[in-house]
């Protein structure tokens, strides 16, 4: 028989971060039933909540690092338990108190972020190199909009297409925008969810100081993860500016008649809701509106779309960790897209981009299935 002996300090950390709602969990198991992991392997969310309530979490278990923070469970929890906060708190206990093991891949990314301000370990001074030949000005006081692509679209050779397309669109429309200096760092959303609270605090403070001293009023972002933390987490740390996701911005330009899409793209396009745009921030319509405005595009939907959209598998720091073949949600998504007869999977998140790109390649579908950010499609259709 096992003696129940709660780890007091860890319990305190979890209860503090998970807050009162954790105590409300009545162990119905709805979270387990909804969690996308159970499409590919067993992951008992409910049991972790119970362990957290009792202070009996197995900090050495890989389950500590499994949650993709997609919010499917939180959205429908009958008792309103902030399950993601609990997961984050458990990770914080491991990373902060050193009572378990941080997976290698995550440790490297965390080290890179803390060291050079981006998870890829790239040189900070090269952060804006993607825009070198596009004639984008540096943000100065009085510039209307700051465009902030964050790390992956700044450095990743493929995903640069997102930031470059965005700049191309802005240039064509003559929008008054600029890029912030290379002192900027990762927004920190994912590393916070991965339990590295101190790193997040330092990144956020760096960016808030930088934005504030430059007089930034409005930020347009490509990543829903930047959107989420800028909008919902930075304000309480003193960072108060208007945050607009690129899909919201483009949709408003279409509404105002400033953005006209004339070039045809005769394709069947299927849109995958990013968790941090959809469930976390309830932005479902704008991306669809943009796609429907592109002549020739036939917009189709996944079997589970919008509120029920399946995560790509990249949230909560999972983007840096290895997910074995057979357990990748993006593989399921690609199969569904093929089944629906789509030509293009349209995305609106850099993590979705990376995961779908890898799935399409590893599944040998690169010939027939394209993965494109909405900004890329708009840049093409703008003519």
């Amino acid at each position: 028989m096992e003696v129940l002996s709660p780890y007091k300090e860890a319990t305190d950390v979890i209860l503090e971060a998970g807050g009162e709602p954790l105590k409300l969990c009545y162990q119905c198991g709805l979270c387990t039933g909804i969690c996308p992991w159970n499409l590919v392997r067993s992951f008992l969310v409910r049991r972790i909540m119970h362990e957290a309530q009792l202070g009996a979490v197995d900090f050495g278990s890989e389950d500590v690092w499994t949650c993709v923070t997609c919010r499917a469970c939180v959205q429908r929890c009958p008792r309103g338990v902030e399950i993601i906060d609990v997961m984050r708190a458990i990770r914080r206990a491991v990373a902060g108190l050193g009572i378990g093991v941080v997976p290698d891949a995550l440790r490297i990314s965390a080290k890179n972020i803390a060291g050079v301000g981006n998870p890829l370990g790239e040189a900070p001074e090269k952060r804006n190199d993607w825009a070198k030949d596009l004639g984008v000005k540096k943000f100065a006081s009085g510039t209307k909009i700051l465009y902030f692509p964050c790390c992956v679209p700044s450095y990743d050779p493929d995903v640069k297409a997102v930031s470059r397309s965005t700049a191309t669109i802005f240039n064509k429309l003559g929008i008054d925008y600029g890029l912030i200096g290379t002192e900027a760092k990762c927004c920190g959303e994912a590393i916070r969810k991965a339990g590295h609270e101190d790193t997040f605090q330092s990144l956020a403070q760096n960016n808030i100081n930088l934005f504030t001293s430059n007089g930034v009023k409005t930020v347009v972002v490509s990543s829903p993860h930047c959107y989420h933390t800028f909008k919902n987490e930075y304000p309480e740390l003193g960072g108060k500016f208007e945050v607009v996701h690129i899909t919201q911005y483009l949709a408003s330009l279409i509404d105002e008649g400033k953005l006209k899409l004339s070039k045809k793209i005769n394709k069947k396009v299927i849109y995958s809701d990013p968790c941090y745009l959809g469930r976390h921030n309830e932005i479902y319509d704008e991306p669809r509106k943009i796609l429907q405005s592109i002549p020739g595009v036939e917009l189709i939907e996944f079997p589970d779309a919008r509120e029920n959209g399946l995560c790509c598998g990249g949230g909560g720091g999972r983007i840096w960790m290895d997910t074995p073949k057979g357990e990748r949600f993006s593989d399921i998504r690609v199969e569904q897209a093929v089944g629906k007869g789509a030509d293009i999977i349209a995305i609106a998140c850099p993590y979705c981009f990376l995961n779908y790109r890898d799935s399409v390649l590893s599944m040998g579908k690169a010939e027939t299935m394209q993965v494109k950010d909405i900004a890329e499609l708009v840049a093409e259709a703008i003519g």
Partner: protein, 663 residues
């Protein structure tokens, strides 16, 4: 003027007040206030010894004003007024300070809480100084009773009152009485047939010499107050001659126009002219004007029913000319028993209700297992096959903050009943998906045991999804119920043929309107609010109006009947007394200032003010029997002619001044 001699009593309420407020200090402080002759603190002022303190001090010290600082006046103001009266003073020479809800329960800082308690006591002392004796009057109570809703609650209440030879008006919205209970097949845990135990009561109601039944009718307006309510009822046109219809049903047989039967939950059809169900009371046909071709075409089409009705109850006249009627009558008390709606599970898309044919609700299953129901008591899938496996999903819309936070109280039990009936009427295996089994009533746990013995599979987990997407051959053509079995710690997929969603009971969709008509309050969950959840569970904040059954919250039949009987007892007790005491703290008009503008007449919900010519000028006067002392008229009066006794401007300003004084 006589010398004002005030007694102040500070209650400890055990630790409720004394745990935070320094009651000794407050009592000492009160003794220093002008005109205070005695100031005491005591453990429980509401106890007999506590009340005796007041009574003895009035006699021995010649007190003529009393202040008690204790709990909310809601419960104990009447207690202390009575003590003051027993001591020989007018009960209105009393003032109540609330230092529990307004002070000790909401503050942690003992010093500041004590200071606030002193402030409240000071204000009460200043106010009581200005109180005047008021006279409580009696008025006759109309012994007739209105019961709203002809379900089991309304019928039971009506019968109890009518059996005492008191007149009852029973108003039911549907064409027949019976409510939800007549739709049920058998009732847990005894498994008696619902029809068998209910139809005798329905018949009694229908034929009772002291019950006047209005079916297919709705209360439109209620005015007045306890003892003298005026009621307006809309009697909807049935489009038949009620005095001639013999309920032979030939019209329904011949009518060619069909729609889903409400009574059969859409599992069968009814016609444009129909009798809702076999045991309907009254047993009269009713014409659905939205479906009847004759009515819709203004007499140009069809008319089949007119031709076959030998009783000549249906004529071109009744179909085309009959209109709603407004009936008016007076009652002294009202019982509201308007029941519940079944939660619509289509708002939970992952359960597939409305999408999959064989995902049904509890009421569907009730009709299906009923021998007189649309399937003749057979449990059948949409395609006519018998199910091999049935899933029962608990807590659909209940215990879930996304829908209803409350437990619907009956679902665990009716789910067990369904399991039993499924075993009795079919060969199906039954899977119950539950979170907690709540079997608390008489014979309920025993029924749980009995069903367990019959071999029901219990899976502890809230169902995440119901899908027809098969992952294996075993799942093909089935509905797959996905849930964690939290006891196994495993996600399970259970292929079944039929799913019964045990849907929550929720407040009626028009509860807001009903609440407005009857001046009821609603809880956050939408149900009607009782006056006190434990000690006054069937009364409402409006005197003379009582609530029974599921309009007050989900409950089972035994609890509903007990509650209905309680409302009847409340009404009978009022009838037996025969009079009501009227509010003494009523409005008065200073005729020398009144302009007779009539705003008081417009605002008053109780029709108490009346503007009339007096000596050639228009002035308002107040009917003190009707006035509730709510103060609305005094607020709208542009000249300040109206004031409320016991709440005069002088009193209120003295109280406010005392509160804002720096102590």
């Amino acid at each position: 003027m006589e010398e004002i001699r005030i007694g102040v009593y500070i209650c400890h309420c055990g630790f409720n007040i004394a745990g935070v407020v320094n009651v000794e200090e407050v009592a000492k402080y009160a003794a220093t206030l002008p005109s205070v002759v005695i100031s005491r603190e005591y453990r429980y002022m509401c106890s007999d010894p506590g009340q005796d303190l007041i009574k003895n001090d009035i006699k021995k010290l010649g007190l003529n004003r009393v202040v008690v600082a204790s709990c909310s006046p809601r419960m104990h103001e009447p207690t202390f007024r009575k003590a003051v009266a027993d001591g020989g003073l007018n009960p209105y020479l009393y003032e109540h300070a609330n230092i529990r809800e307004h002070c000790s329960w909401v503050h942690d800082d003992k010093e500041l809480a004590t200071k606030k308690a002193k402030d409240l006591v000071r204000a009460a002392v200043k106010r009581v100084y200005r109180h005047e004796p008021l006279v409580v009057k009696e008025a006759p109570l109309n012994p007739n009773v209105l019961v709203v809703g002809g379900g089991i609650a309304g019928m039971q209440a009506a019968l109890d009152i009518a059996n005492g030879q008191n007149k009852v008006y029973l108003v039911e919205r549907d064409p027949s009485i019976g409510g939800h209970m007549i739709q049920l097949d058998r009732t847990f845990p005894t498994l008696d047939c619902s029809e068998c135990i209910l139809t005798p009561k329905m018949s009694d109601v229908g034929h009772h010499p002291f019950i006047e039944l209005f079916t297919y009718s709705e209360v439109e307006e209620v005015s007045g107050s306890i003892g003298n309510f005026k009621i307006k009822v809309r009697k909807k046109a049935r489009h038949i001659d009620e005095s001639k219809c013999i309920g032979c049903n030939v019209c329904e047989e011949k009518c060619p126009w069909k729609t889903d039967s409400e009574f059969e939950m859409g599992l069968a059809k009814r016609k444009a002219v129909y009798i809702p169900f076999a045991q309907a009371i009254p047993h009269l046909a009713v014409v659905d004007p939205n479906l009847c071709a004759y009515i819709k075409s203004d007499g140009k089409k069809c008319g089949a029913c007119i031709k076959v009705c030998e009783a000549q109850a249906i004529t071109p006249e009744t179909l085309l000319k009959q209109t709603d009627q407004i009936v008016e009558f007076d009652v002294g008390t009202i019982i509201v028993a308007t029941g519940y709606d079944q939660f619509d599970p289509s708002v939970i898309p992952q359960y597939g209700y409305g999408k999959y044919d064989n995902v049904l609700t509890g009421l569907h299953f009730e009709r299906m297992t009923c021998a007189a129901g649309p399937t003749g008591g057979k449990i059948l899938l949409k395609d006519g096959r018998e199910p091999e496996r049935i899933a029962l999903v608990h807590c659909v819309g209940s215990r879930d903050q996304n829908y209803h936070e409350y437990c619907s109280r009956v679902c665990c039990m009716y789910a067990l009943k369904y399991a039993h009936l499924a075993k009795e009427l079919s060969k199906a295996d039954v899977y119950q998906f539950y979170i907690d089994m709540r079997c608390f009533g008489e014979g309920y746990e025993e029924f749980y045991k009995r069903c367990s013995e019959e071999g029901v599979n219990f899976i502890r987990g809230k169902v995440a999804k119901i899908t027809d997407e098969a992952l294996s051959d075993e799942e093909k053509g089935k509905l797959v119920v996905i849930s964690e079995d939290t006891l196994l710690g495993k996600l399970v997929r259970v292929p079944v043929d039929m799913v019964i969603l045990c849907s929550a009971l929720e407040a009626r969709s028009d509860a807001e309107n009903v609440a407005r008509i009857f001046n009821l309050n609603r809880r956050a969950d939408g149900f009607f609010l009782e006056r006190h959840v434990k000690l006054d569970p069937v009364a409402t904040p409006t005197d003379g109006i009582f609530i029974a059954g599921c309009c007050e919250g989900p409950r089972d039949i035994p609890d509903t009947v007990a509650q209905a009987e309680a409302t009847a007892a409340k009404a009978l007790s009022l009838i037996s007394k025969g009079t009501i005491t009227t509010e003494a703290a009523v409005s008065t008009v200073d005729e020398s200032i009144c302009h007779g503008c009539g705003r008081c007449e417009e605002i008053c919900a109780f029709h108490a003010p009346k503007v009339a010519s007096k000596n050639g000028t228009l002035v308002s006067s107040i009917n003190e029997t009707l006035c509730k002392g709510c103060g609305a008229c005094a607020v709208v009066c542009p000249t300040g002619a109206i004031s409320i006794k016991h709440f005069t401007q002088d009193e209120i300003l003295a109280e406010v001044a005392a509160l804002t004084e720096v102590s």
